[in-house]
Structure formats: C-alpha cells, structure tokens
C-alpha cells in the first residue's frame, strides 16, 4: 500500500472516532459511551481474562465450523460443477438449504441433538455449507475447458489436474467464499451461543444486553472486529498476494 493510501486509511479511522466521540459527548448518555470509556472497559476485561476466554471459545468454534464447511462445501461444489446429473438432482436441496432461516436451523439442531457443542457446530456448518457449494459450483462451471483438455492430452491425472489446473482457477471463488463465510459464520455463532451455550461472545453479549451494559457490548464488538481484520491482514491478503503473483 502506498504511503498516501496508508495516510488516508489512518485519517478515515480517526475521523470515525471523532464522529463517535462527538455524538457521545453531545448525547451524554449510557446508551452511547465515548471511545475512551469503551477502551477502558476493553482493557479491564482483557486484564481480567474474561474477554480473551470468551473470544477464544468463539474463535475455536469459528475455526472448527469454518474448516468443516469450507472443506466439505468445496468438495461438493466441485463435484456438482463437474457432474450435470448430480447437479440436477441436488439443485433443489441446495435451494431449500439456502433459504432455511439460520435461526430455524439453530433451534432444530438444539431440539434434535441437545444443547451441546456438536449441535452448535452442526448448526453453523449447515448454515454455511450451501453458500460455499453454490460459489464453488459456479467457479467449477466456469473452468477453462482448453486447459482441462491440455491436461487430459498430456496425461496429468486427477491429482495433478486438481492441484495445477482446477484449484488455481477456483482460487478467486474460494477466497470469495472464505471472506463472506467468515462474516456470516461470526454472526451465526453469536446467535448459536446466545441461544444455547454458557460461554463465548454471544453468551456474553446476551448477558450485557440484560444488564444494559452498552460499553461492554461495544468493547467486545471492537475485539472481534479487530480479530477479523487481523485474519484479513495476516492470512487472507498474503495468501491472495502469493497466489496472484503471476498476474501482470
């Protein structure tokens, strides 16, 4: 990023904080605490270990459910994209799962499998998988047939074709599914925790809501927005840069 872009990005963040501070001072109410007050609560909860614990629990659920959803969603998406008959058979299933509200899936999972960890993970996975399948299926349908023919002609075999011909073409679709998936899963996990778990960010936010503790709600919000930004900066952007290095 050029220094001008960095400067603009920093200035925009400062402007956001200034607007927040301005409104908070003007309203002078507990329903909108100042950024300073939120920062103090954030620090206190970090030192007490409360925030890292609940954030860690939620992150663990995120990693497990995200991995299951992405791996199985990519595999099913590639299979449906390459096989027209299977795609025709399962297309209706996909539409049904895409349109079931997240809340319904979560409630049904808890009712059918009990208020435990596996039901919570399953609820998140079922909500995310259809999105991954649809994105990867579209990517697979758009694969360059000329390159696939070249791979067949030169006897690449399945493994080599997947790694060197198919996967690089699916990369933008996988990254799209990853980014939208992270955002979606965060939100679903919070509802899952709010409804049926006794720890995690969702559980804590529910508690703060009952206490009308807006400063803590904002402190926890800042924490997970920061984590998502960190994942973007440390994992996703370098991955993007590495896989796109061949472009002019």
């Amino acid at each position: 990023m050029s220094s001008l872009k960095k400067l603009l990005s920093g200035l925009s963040l400062l402007a956001f904080l200034a607007v927040w501070q301005g409104f908070a001072v003007y309203l002078n109410s507990n329903t909108l605490p100042t950024p300073g007050k939120v920062a103090v609560i954030f620090w206190q909860d970090c030192v007490s270990g409360q925030l890292p614990f609940h954030l860690g629990v939620t992150l663990l659920r995120l990693v497990v459910s995200f991995s299951i959803a992405m791996l199985s969603g990519c595999a099913i998406g590639i299979i449906l994209g390459r096989n027209k008959k299977l795609d025709a058979f399962f297309d209706n299933w996909l539409v049904i799962f895409l349109n079931i509200p997240a809340l319904v899936t979560i409630i049904l999972c808890y009712v059918w499998f009990g208020l435990d960890e596996s039901a919570a993970i399953l609820a998140v996975v079922i909500n995310k998988i259809p999105n991954v399948i649809v994105t990867i299926r579209e990517g697979t349908r758009a694969l360059d047939q000329d390159l696939l023919e070249m791979a067949r002609c030169y006897h690449f075999g399945r493994r080599k074709t997947l790694i060197h011909v198919i996967w690089p073409q699916l990369h933008p679709f996988v990254m799209g599914a990853t980014r939208s998936g992270l955002a979606l899963i965060w939100k679903i996990i919070l509802v899952v925790e709010l409804l049926g778990r006794s720890n995690g960010m969702g559980y804590q936010l529910h508690l703060f809501f009952q206490l009308f503790d807006v400063a803590s709600i904002l402190a926890y919000t800042v924490a997970f927005v920061a984590i998502i930004q960190l994942i973007e900066l440390v994992i996703l952007k370098p991955l993007d840069k590495k896989s796109q290095r061949w472009r002019r």
């Binding site: 000329d146 390159l147 023919e149 067949r152 002609c153 030169y154 080599k160 011909v165 061949w246 002019r248």
Partner: protein, 246 residues
C-alpha cells in the same frame, strides 16, 4: 518413432437448436510413416481440429479406429494447440515440467529451451511473454514428452510473418535433432511446403482426402522462398482441384 493409421468412418456433431446434425468426417483413411512430417491442408471449418482431437483422445464420440504404433492404450501425444494453452499461474519451466513423466529428468528441458532461444525466459510467467514466445513454449512442451506422435494445429496462426518464419525454422531445427512423427494442420500452402515430407489435401466437410503429394524439395533448400514458391505454382498448375481449398 511410431507408425500411425487413422480410419475414421464417421464423426457427427449432434443437432443444436435450429441447426441439424453435422457430418464432419466421412470415411477418412490416412497413414503416417514413422518419423514422417505430414501436413494436412484444407479450408477453414473442414474438420482438421476435430481430427486432431480424435487422434489425441480428446474426442471419443466417433466411429472408426486410430492405431498409434503397436500400443493400444495411452500413446504419448504431444499436442501443440492453435492457442498455446499454457497455465498462466506456472512459469515457462513449470509449464513444461508438469507434462513430463515421473521417469523423465527435468534436465531434458534445458537443451530444448536453448534451441528455442528461451533459456532466459524459463522463470517468467506466460502473461509476460509475447505470442511468439508462448508458441515456442508450447512447441517445447510437445517435444519434451518424447511423444509417439506430435500433433500441431496451425501453431503459427496470427503471428507476424518474420516471427512465424523464425519459429518455423526453429521447429524444423528441433525436429531434425529429435525426429518424431508429426501431423501438422495448416491452410497456408507455403508453410506446408516448407515443413512437410508429404502434403495431404482435404475437402470441406464432410472431410475426405482429395490428394496426397510428396514434397521433393531437399530440406536444405526449404529455406529459399523461391524454391517453395516455384513448387507451389507447379502444384496449383498440376492439381487445379486444390485451388478452391486455399
């Protein structure tokens, strides 16, 4: 080097929309001697690429049989497509290495790069290559697998004349160093005369052989435009039926 027999009784494309069935090839019988360089010359859309796809095993929806050498399964094919079809996310060297067998050493690529004057560009990604350079990489890839047959589908089309001539000369140099049985498709008669041991003229669809002519010009004289032009004129006079194909 491998002998090849091609018998395609029929190749039909199914009806699409308003268009009915299209008979692309009917009763086509060809034979290539081991190490022979054969050029197929025919009008655009006559089914030349279809034939190459059938030989390469990319199109199995036809009636007939293709016999390559004594092998009946998985003959090694080098296919130099009209569009170079390089993987844009792999370097020049990686694109060639990927096609090699497990028992082939990557070191065999070095002399091929040298002949094609591409040693300096081996770690470059295809997007940074000119079309001529991409075509050369595609030719190296075809030779690197040490194929039973090398199929070339108008590999010099859309190159400017000097570049096409340079790549053609390098191709001949490579082929003379490493002779393979080659089936080369073109609709440029001068190019065909410059390269081939034998010319096979094909009709418009359904494709059939019109005439087969051996090129008597010694290889050393093929670099002279005059010799090629004289033979071309002689062909057009002796075989007036091929004029309509060009």
């Amino acid at each position: 080097m491998t002998h090849i027999r091609i018998n395609v009784h029929s190749k039909t494309y199914p009806a699409v929309g308003q268009a009915g069935h299209h008979l692309a090839i009917a009763n086509l019988n060809l034979s290539l001697n081991a190490g022979e360089f054969v050029c197929l010359v025919g009008p655009s859309g006559c089914g030349k690429t279809t034939l190459l796809n059938i030989i390469a095993g990319l199109d199995n929806d036809y009636e007939g049989d293709i016999i390559i050498g004594k092998q009946h399964t998985h003959p090694k094919i080098g296919y130099i497509f009209q569009n170079p079809r390089l993987l844009p996310w792999r370097t020049v060297r990686e694109n060639i290495e990927l096609t090699l067998d497990k028992n082939q050493s990557p070191a065999i690529i070095d002399p091929l790069l040298e002949v094609m004057q591409l040693t300096h560009a081996q770690n470059v990604y295809p997007e940074r290559l000119s079309l001529g350079m991409s075509r050369k990489v595609s030719i190296i890839r075809g030779f690197a697998v040490e194929p039973d047959v090398l199929l070339m589908d108008e590999p010099f089309v859309s190159l400017d004349a000097p570049t096409a001539r340079q790549v053609r000369e390098l191709l001949l140099k490579l082929w003379q160093q490493r002779p393979h049985t080659v089936l080369f498709v073109t609709h440029d008669l001068r190019e065909a005369i410059a390269l081939a041991d034998r010319l096979i003229f094909l009709s418009a669809a359904p494709m059939a052989v019109i005439s087969e002519i051996t090129v008597p010009i010694p290889r050393a004289e093929r670099y002279h435009e005059n010799a090629i032009e004289t033979f071309r004129q002689q062909l057009l006079n002796d075989y007036p039926e091929i004029k309509q194909l060009l």
